[in-house]
Symmetry: C2
Subunit: 329 residues, 2 copies
């Protein structure tokens, strides 16, 4: 049995998991993400040490460390464009870890023994689902994570889709409506502006302001600006029609975006993860129904299944561990 | 030296090329595409025989046959969705060739020696550019062909992007404007409806009708319905402002579509081929300029080069030959 350490560096938390090659979670730690570059590097290295100290049998079975970051990562490990954690941009994560790993590696059976991988968090998440989660055994996988933005990753022909610079799999910035809301990327009507958690909250606030989501507005204390996705979810679970209509609108946008990506990638399965995925079938069922209308292959023998991601908030850390274990590349 | 035979089956013509593993064209034939399934199968097999008869040194160096078809091709060789040559749908091309190839193969050095590959024409075209054309040495390639529709293909990490069913690389059916023109695929505002040759002609007719393209209209004999891309190209070459504005509009749509695809695929180069590519720099220059605005990585150290495809109308046949030679898979 081999163990991989997977760190998922998020905008607010760092989740570290020790995972066996069989997918068993052996230990786990969670700390806040520091905002300063120096503290962030220190926390990453200390977090790894803390995780190692939790291993019942010590670090002997560990074969490497994977680090997922909310950044674009070039193939040489340089970090770019990290809007949710700007401290990461240009941070020498690879060098800092390499130094520490040499020490650890030497102390546990020989220098250079541990694998070190730094990768984009969406790429890590799809790696997690592919190796340990809901996409096991599927060679072509599209993961879409619906959170503040839209992230994701792609497995193509059994390998992670990386692209020429390591920037592939950015699924949130396809322009789907030139008249849509402005996006931080500089364009308009990106998929992310139509189907992310933030987009859903905006859609719900607009409906609440127009008097089309009274129950949702009530749950938000009568304040349109306070309306969040959670209020829509609560109302929809109670069967509120206004809230269900909002899920239908979100699902339509999601289905169009999935159909766009499916044309290019032809995935064997599409997984939906991220915060919004907690809505479960309230989101998936109308998405599947709309996809069957939108996509040329949404129905019939070549229909593409759309399902919930399986590893939840641990997908990124499990994927980083899978990369550290060398189970996917 | 090994030779591969590559057949590119188009809606109107079948082009067959015998190509060496060094990319040299040894022989070439061209016949009309029959519309009936039986005649089409017969023509494909006879076309191969005709090509073989043209080889100066006979068929000894031949190692296989590749056939590119304007259809979706499953990994087991079944042909689907072939709007430009419906006779191909469900046609047992693989079985017909396999039978003939067994005879040829046995007659030229041993049964089972020849490789047989049936593949989508866009996939073949990008294979051709990757192995023999403008994308040699680039591991991640996006080819976009602008003809009646928009086709294309993708190389990812040095391998053809195929997807779960073999349908990947359909780049023309990303919805870019829900208020755009209806597409034959059943959706609205697909990339194909905004930047293909047909779309360009429609844009030009609209401008001509509005009095914004007088020189173009004049070249079309004063008949708005007769306006074609060729008239715009001729006027633009003469420096006509109305015609140049039409190329700017086309280039904008193309740049947005390329930026969408680049987010997902992160290509090392984007090649533009197909009939519209004959416009050369009149199309490429404004596309590059617009892409630098549209794409987050359109400028700076990670800018993606956009260039003309190198093999012209022979890209598909050369790619089919490259597949037959086993130089890409």
């Amino acid at each position: 049995m081999a163990i991989g350490l997977g760190l998922d560096v998020g905008g607010t938390k760092i989740l570290a998991c020790a995972v066996t090659d069989g997918g068993e979670l052996v230990a786990e730690t969670r700390v806040d993400s520091p905002r300063s570059p120096d503290l962030l590097l220190q926390t990453l290295v200390e977090g790894t040490d803390a995780l190692l100290s939790l291993l019942p049998d010590g670090p002997r079975a560990v074969v490497g460390v994977g680090v997922g970051v909310p950044s674009l990562v070039t193939s040489d490990g340089t970090l770019y464009e990290s809007p949710n954690l700007p401290a990461l941009e240009g941070l020498p994560v690879h060098a800092a870890f390499a130094e520490r790993l040499e020490v650890l590696s030497a102390a546990t059976g020989g220098a250079g023994r541990w694998r070190l991988v730094i990768d984009n968090d969406g790429t890590c998440a799809v790696a997690g689902e592919f190796v340990f989660g809901a996409a096991r055994g599927v060679t072509d996988v599209l993961l879409i994570t619906l959170g503040t933005g839209i992230g994701g990753g792609v497995v193509a022909g059994g390998r992670l889709l990386r692209g020429a610079r390591g920037f592939a799999g950015e699924v949130g910035h396809i322009v789907m409506d030139p008249a849509g809301p402005a996006c931080h990327c500089g364009r308009r009507g990106c998929f992310e502006q139509l189907a992310s958690g933030s987009a859903f909250a905006r859609i719900a606030r607009r409906a609440a302001a127009a008097g089309a989501a009274d129950r949702v507005l009530e749950l938000a204390g009568g304040d349109v600006e306070a309306v969040r996705g959670e209020h829509v979810l609560e109302a929809a679970r109670d069967g509120d029609r206004g809230a269900l209509a909002l899920f239908d609108e979100l699902a339509h946008n999601l289905a169009v975006g999935i159909a766009n990506l499916a044309e290019v990638l032809d995935p064997g399965v599409v997984l939906v993860g991220g915060g919004l995925a907690s809505a479960g079938e309230l989101l998936i069922a109308p998405t599947v129904a709309d996809f069957a209308v939108e996509d040329r292959r949404g129905r019939g023998p070549h229909a593409v299944p759309i399902a919930l991601a399986g590893l939840g908030a641990r997908a990124g850390a499990f994927g980083a561990a899978a990369l550290a274990l060398g189970l996917v590349s």
